[in-house]
């Protein structure tokens, strides 16, 4: 991990309220792994605003891509940055997704949870199926990116404005049944709201496969010092402990998490 000054290269609108931010982050981007995050000091909120954590949406060379939704004063300020502006970034932080699936990878994304999974889709050695769920079509992001990389994509929206109507667990259950029928083992990867992660975790345990869940918690320090983002976890021997999402995660295996 390093604390570096990054230069904004580009801001690109994705869907309503969602943006992709490209920054030059030498020393951070090269080391970034899918599932890791960066802790961003948003300029203009100085001198006292806390940093904001963002999943790494992509990394190539010294270039880092972040995905964000304008939800509060931090992201609103981030949105005002233009090419050439600078910001402080600590990263890469946390433990990401393992990159050696034992089965067919199924990526399950909810809303902007698509960010680390898009990066993962590029780095996994094999292709599989990506399932993207959103409230409306405005919350379905980066579907084309996965297709371009050779992934099969299934989309659900709760209001039916894109893809199948309902929750992302509908096509997930079909994919799991299909793999079971053909005698193949899945490997699940998910990022999104807790409800989605829990549902995916339960299915991983049921299917007897691994389920890698990326938790989204509010953070303060981002490096494991302040203990603001803790999560109850279970070891293989059944004993429980309190982990830090920022340092011991944000990716945990489904069986580790005590909901």
């Amino acid at each position: 991990m390093r604390d570096v000054t990054c230069r904004v290269v580009n801001q690109m609108p994705l869907k309503a309220g969602y943006w992709a931010l490209d920054v030059e982050a030498p020393g951070v981007a090269e080391a970034a792994q899918p599932g890791q995050f960066v802790h961003v000091r948003v300029p203009g909120l100085e001198p006292v605003a806390l940093r904001r954590p963002f999943s790494i949406f992509g990394a190539e060379g010294t270039r880092l891509k972040l995905l964000y939704k304008t939800v509060g004063r931090g992201t609103a300020q981030l949105n005002r940055l233009t090419p050439g502006d600078t910001l402080q970034v600590i990263g890469p932080l946390g433990k990401g997704f393992p990159l050696a699936p034992q089965g067919v990878p199924l990526l399950v994304a909810g809303g902007y949870g698509v960010a680390p999974l898009s990066f993962l889709a590029r780095r996994l050695p094999v292709r599989g199926v990506t399932l993207i769920g959103g409230r409306t079509s405005d919350d379905v992001l980066a579907a084309e990116d996965f297709e371009r990389l050779g992934w099969t994509v299934r989309v659900t929206t709760q209001d039916g404005s894109q893809g199948e109507t309902g929750l992302v667990t509908l096509p997930l259950d079909r994919e799991l049944a299909h793999l079971r029928g053909s005698g193949e083992m899945p490997e699940l990867y998910a990022c999104g709201p807790d409800g989605l992660l829990r549902a995916v975790g339960e299915r991983a345990i049921q299917a007897g496969c691994r389920g890698w869940l990326s938790l989204d918690k509010h953070m303060v320090c981002g490096v494991g010092a302040c203990l603001a983002c803790v999560q109850a976890l279970r070891r293989e021997d059944g004993t429980e402990w309190i982990g830090r999402v920022c340092r011991d995660g944000p990716v945990f295996e489904a069986r580790e998490i005590v909901w």
Partner: protein
């Protein structure tokens, strides 16, 4: 080599410079070691330790507010044995004095923690947490009653020869009463201030933002409050003061020194810019040079109040 003498003696804790970190904002030092050179700190103050491991409060544990944050972490920690096993080897290796913040629910627990840490190589001093607003059982109940402070400090004093530094609560009618009580009971130094009791409400849900409902306010918002309390404390203190509260740069640290502090601690700012303690250190040195002072000790209590 610096031409300015930055060394200070904080009640027997010999620091090569007056800058440390506030307990709870720097983990156990290790967490920040990749981001800043922790060996340049005057001391490392670690997160609060009690006898046994402690789980802390439910989430959410923090809320951002204008000028700072409100936290109710609840003193989660590994207990004395876990701390010594998992973190002391790293801390010893830094060669930097280690100040351990300790707490308990009863006097005997504080004393036992102090006794055990006295036998640990590399521990340079104890900061007595008598003012954490986030744990019902411990801390705060002691910190706002001068007789309780006196009795607790005396009990811990009997248990250890390590430099003993109670951390005072800011929300008291007259800080001088607590300064006297603590130093008469055997304190070697005093730390102030702890966070200010605070609350944040989510107006959409009409619920408290923190699971603990209330927490402690830290950050630049509390800095002027802390300066006033340090200045008042200095008027009756016979022991050195470690000042903290809202330091984001050298200016706030220098204010504390002028008000009467011997050393300063950077807290919430570590979360925002981990290099803050080193910026503060360099800024103090530059200030001393600019004012033709060759020791930082000369700055302590140099307020021109008349």
């Amino acid at each position: 080599m610096s031409d300015v003498d930055m060394r200070v003696d904080l009640g027997g804790i010999r620091m090569k410079n007056p800058v440390t970190v506030a307990s709870g904002t720097f983990g156990y030092g290790k967490e920040y070691a990749e981001l800043i050179d922790v060996t340049r700190l005057g001391a490392i103050t670690v997160k609060g330790i009690r006898l046994q491991a402690w789980p802390g409060n439910p989430l959410p544990r923090h809320a951002e507010v204008p000028g700072g944050m409100v936290n109710a972490i609840g003193l989660q920690g590994p207990g004395v044995a876990g701390f010594v096993r998992d973190y002391m080897p790293f801390l010893r290796e830094t060669g930097v004095p280690v100040i351990v913040n300790i707490w308990g629910t009863r006097e005997e627990e504080y004393a036992e923690v102090a006794r055990r840490l006295s036998e640990v190589e590399g521990v340079s001093g104890l900061e007595l947490n008598i003012s954490c607003p986030n744990v019902k059982e411990g801390g705060h109940a002691f910190g706002t009653d001068p007789r309780a402070v006196s009795s607790l400090v005396a009990a811990v004093r009997r248990a250890t020869r390590l430099p003993l530094m109670p951390k005072l609560a800011p929300n008291v009618p007259d800080i001088r009463v607590f300064v006297r009580a603590a130093q008469e009971a055997g304190a070697d130094a005093l730390a102030l201030i702890n966070t200010l009791p605070a609350m944040v409400i989510d107006i959409e849900t009409r619920r408290p933002v923190l699971a603990n409902k209330v927490g402690g306010l830290s950050g630049p918002a509390i800095h002027p409050v802390a300066v006033k309390l340090v200045w008042e404390a200095a008027q009756v203190a016979r022991v050195p003061l470690l000042a903290m509260g809202g330091i984001v740069g050298p200016e706030q640290a220098i204010e504390f020194l002028i008000a009467g502090a011997t050393a300063v601690a950077v807290g919430t700012a570590n979360f925002i810019d981990p290099a803050t303690p080193l910026r503060v250190l360099e800024g103090i040195e530059a200030y001393l040079r600019r004012h033709d002072m060759n020791t930082v000790a000369a700055l302590t209590g140099s307020l021109r109040a008349e």
